[in-house]
């Protein structure tokens, strides 16, 4: 910054800089502009997904906010809230139960009280979308080898210090570039790209609940499935209703201690455990990811507690993925998780009697494969997000006929 510039001159300069940063050629025919950063992000993802023409990611929209008139496109009254005196409201979507004054927003940053009526600001308001392998979610027992049309809006109802997508999850919708994509449009894009499912992912889909639910219903009418990639921090009533519309849920169980949830996640463990039980009771296919953060949630005691709780409350057939942490966002003071730590976690969970325990974010590790709990042979072979062999017949091991839990299709 040239310190001699006057206020107005600095303003012009600041605006000019952002134009330069964000002025990337538009995709022909699409009308969607990419920033250099978003183009880079998108390219990374698409290298894995092999659909390079489809990637869009958002960048912080420095001097290009959504116009006020555009905002109306994304506005819809929220489904779960209670009106309080003096134009206050209480949000009932997640266990946080924010009490929100007029013209204020909840913790998620995407729901706003306007004159005593509560609105979501992100219905049909995508900030990013990609075509991903279902293994990237990860969902290993849900139609392996298929693609998921993956979407997100801005916002999140927790604030994990290790978030890898904080640039879209920890911002307000007007701080990222938005794309108008109503449920029918998302469904059409998924069908067009031959995706078996739509994945609500990247940020926290609970906070775009209405949009997710409307899209799932629309997609089901067109033969497209829906999977939810969530932290599971959701109230029971909306969860029960959601379970009727979706086909699979992956829950990021961040730790097995309330202290960790308080200090690192800014959330609570108990409601997440309750949500997992509800998912089981509603018979929605569920898998668990546990991001192992060195020294923070990797003690033997905690891993044993987790494994026993899963077996006792959800059963031995719920897949558990122990994934590798990489330093991100507000937690750059720790190293990546040693592979030995992940292997120790798997050993503990195996010993506690869980049938499907995986190691994630370590491409090529043998614990990416699915092994038959009956005979021990590989029934699904994976490397990274690529499935190289499926040795199942009607959901059973081709070797010993043991039924493998999951959603395998016809």
């Amino acid at each position: 910054m040239n310190r001699k510039l006057r206020g107005e001159s600095r303003l012009r300069m600041a605006k000019g800089e952002s134009e330069t940063i964000d002025s990337i050629p538009k995709q022909s025919g699409s009308g969607w502009a990419l920033s250099r950063r978003s183009f880079f992000h998108g390219s990374l993802s698409l290298g894995l997904a092999a659909y390079p023409s489809l990637s869009r990611s958002s960048a912080l929209a420095a001097a290009r906010p959504v116009l006020q008139e555009d905002e109306k496109l994304y506005l819809a009254e929220a489904k779960f809230y209670e009106k309080l005196p003096h134009k206050k409201i209480k949000c009932l979507l997640c266990p946080r139960e924010c009490v929100i004054d007029d013209r204020e927003r909840g913790y998620c940053g995407v729901r706003e009280n306007r004159g005593g009526t509560y609105y979501t600001l992100v219905h049909s308001r995508l900030c990013t979308f990609h075509v991903d392998p279902i293994e990237k979610k990860p969902l290993f027992h849900f139609h392996p080898g298929t693609m998921a049309f993956s979407i997100a809006t801005a916002g999140c109802n927790v604030n994990c210090r290790f978030c890898q997508n904080w640039e879209i999850s920890q911002v307000r919708p007007e701080q990222v570039r938005s794309y108008y994509a109503p449920p029918e449009k998302v469904t059409a894009m998924a069908v067009d790209q031959r995706c078996l499912s739509i994945a609500y992912t990247y940020t926290e889909p609970v906070i775009f609940y209405e949009y997710m639910q409307d899209t799932a219903i629309e997609a089901r009418d067109h033969g497209v499935k829906s999977v939810v990639i969530t932290g599971g921090y959701i109230a029971k009533e909306p969860l029960v209703e959601l379970c009727a519309s979706v086909d699979g849920i992956k829950v990021d169980l961040k730790a097995f201690s309330e202290e960790y949830y308080k200090q690192v996640v800014n959330g609570e463990l108990r409601p997440v455990l309750d949500a997992l039980v509800t998912m089981l009771n509603r018979e929605v296919w569920t898998e668990i990811v546990y991001l192992v953060v060195p020294t923070m949630n990797d003690s033997e005691e905690e891993l044993i507690g987790l494994s026993r709780w899963v077996k006792q409350n959800l059963g031995p057939d719920v897949p558990v993925h122990f994934t590798r942490f990489y330093p991100q966002y507000l937690m750059k003071n720790l190293p990546p998780t040693p592979v030995e730590t992940l292997e120790r976690a798997k050993t503990i969970a195996d010993a506690e009697g869980l049938n499907y325990v995986y190691i994630g974010n370590v491409p090529g590790h043998p614990a990416e494969n699915t092994y038959c709990p009956g005979c021990g042979r590989v029934v699904i072979r994976r490397k990274g997000y690529t499935v190289s062999g499926i040795y199942l017949k009607q959901g059973r091991c081709v070797g010993c006929q043991t039924e493998i839990a999951g959603v395998w299709g016809t």
């Binding site: 206020g7 600041a14 912080l60 420095a62 001097a63 004054d101 913790y107 604030n159 307000r172 701080q175």
Partner: protein
């Protein structure tokens, strides 16, 4: 702002404040009785000295002549006189311009961070901002080097400001105009992107909060107003804002650039904030000035507690929202200022 340059007389003469100061010492004992009533809940001690007491944080409580209902707020001239008196007291200067000339430096851009969330009812008054802007210009700041800002253009407009993103005269716009930077600023429990208005446009900031209750954080004044400089304020209302309010104030662009707080207490609110609730608003008819935001917030908090007690309402502690972040801001990790009454010199004028 509707008023143009020259609306207010140049403030480089000693009158009328010099005359006022002659009577200040004589009046001090009487005034201190009144302030004792304001701060009777163990508030800061009072000093009548013109020069700041060594090591103490001075907080000036300027009061208008005729407190009344909110509908009968002070006149423009009354407001200007109050601003002048308050600034001279804070800076221990004979004339208003001597004080204003100490803000910023040659060619520096001065930001005026207002608080407009609650609309016209309980936001920073445009008249006050206009008076400050005028005095800054008289002190040598170019009109185009004055930037009035808050979270959103629409908030500013609802509070009575006119958006002005280019041209001559003070500029006025929300963070939605320029957006936020790309690098995280972090301290303790917070990590935020800073608005570019603060980081790239302003050299110096005068913080212009409002004296009011806050339904989550207890009170909102100097420190809390800087939530308007970050991209994710919704994340930092947990635990009554403790330690988040203090942590946000520690972010380097804020610590380095905010030079002065002028809290608009013409109208104040003791319950139901931050939204405007007219049934809980009263005419405090004053301004609260200070360099130390912790001392100022502590002093303002005591004023609100006193009003709540007067109106038969429970203390903020009993209401479950005692603003403990104020003490956190004074702890060894933060050291933003002091909330020790023995270390605060409150000057009521």
């Amino acid at each position: 702002l509707k008023g143009g340059p020259g609306r207010f007389p140049v403030a480089n003469k000693a009158s009328p404040f010099v005359e006022a100061m002659k009577t200040y010492r004589r009046e001090f004992i009487r005034k201190s009785v009144g302030l004792g009533a304001v701060l009777s809940t163990g508030g800061p001690k009072i000093s009548g000295a013109l020069q700041a007491q060594p090591g103490k944080s001075r907080v000036v409580i300027g009061r208008g002549d005729s407190p009344g209902s909110v509908d009968r707020e002070m006149t423009d001239q009354g407001l200007l006189d109050l601003l002048d008196r308050s600034m001279q007291s804070l800076y221990s200067k004979e004339t208003p311009l001597e004080a204003w000339r100490l803000i910023g430096g040659a060619g520096q851009v001065v930001g005026l961070k207002v608080n407009c969330l609650a609309g016209k009812g309980i936001s920073t008054h445009p008249r006050l901002v206009e008076a400050i802007s005028e005095r800054l210009q008289q002190a040598g700041v170019k009109s185009s080097d004055i930037v009035i800002w808050d979270r959103l253009n629409r908030d500013l407009e609802r509070a009575g400001f006119s958006i002005k993103e280019s041209g001559k005269g003070p500029l006025c716009f929300g963070n939605d105009h320029l957006g936020f930077g790309r690098e995280l600023e972090t301290f303790n429990a917070v990590g935020s992107l800073m608005c570019r208005t603060l980081t790239e446009i302003c050299d110096v900031v005068i913080n212009l909060p409002v004296l009011k209750d806050h339904g989550i954080t207890g009170v909102t004044m100097a420190m809390k107003n800087l939530f308007g400089a970050i991209h994710n304020p919704n994340k930092y209302h947990l635990n009554i804002g403790d330690p988040y309010v203090a942590d946000v104030y520690m972010l380097p662009p804020i610590r380095q650039k905010v030079q002065l707080t002028v809290c608009d207490a013409i109208a104040a609110q003791y319950e139901g904030g931050p939204s405007f609730m007219p049934q809980w608003t009263w005419s405090f008819n004053g301004l609260i000035l200070g360099f130390d935001p912790v001392a100022l917030d502590y002093t303002g908090w005591q004023i609100i507690e006193r009003k709540r007690a007067e109106m038969g309402m429970p203390s903020l502690r009993k209401a479950g929202r005692e603003p403990t972040y104020i003490a956190t801001a004074a702890d060894p990790q933060h050291r933003i200022g002091t909330c020790n009454p023995d270390q605060i010199e409150v000057m009521e004028i």
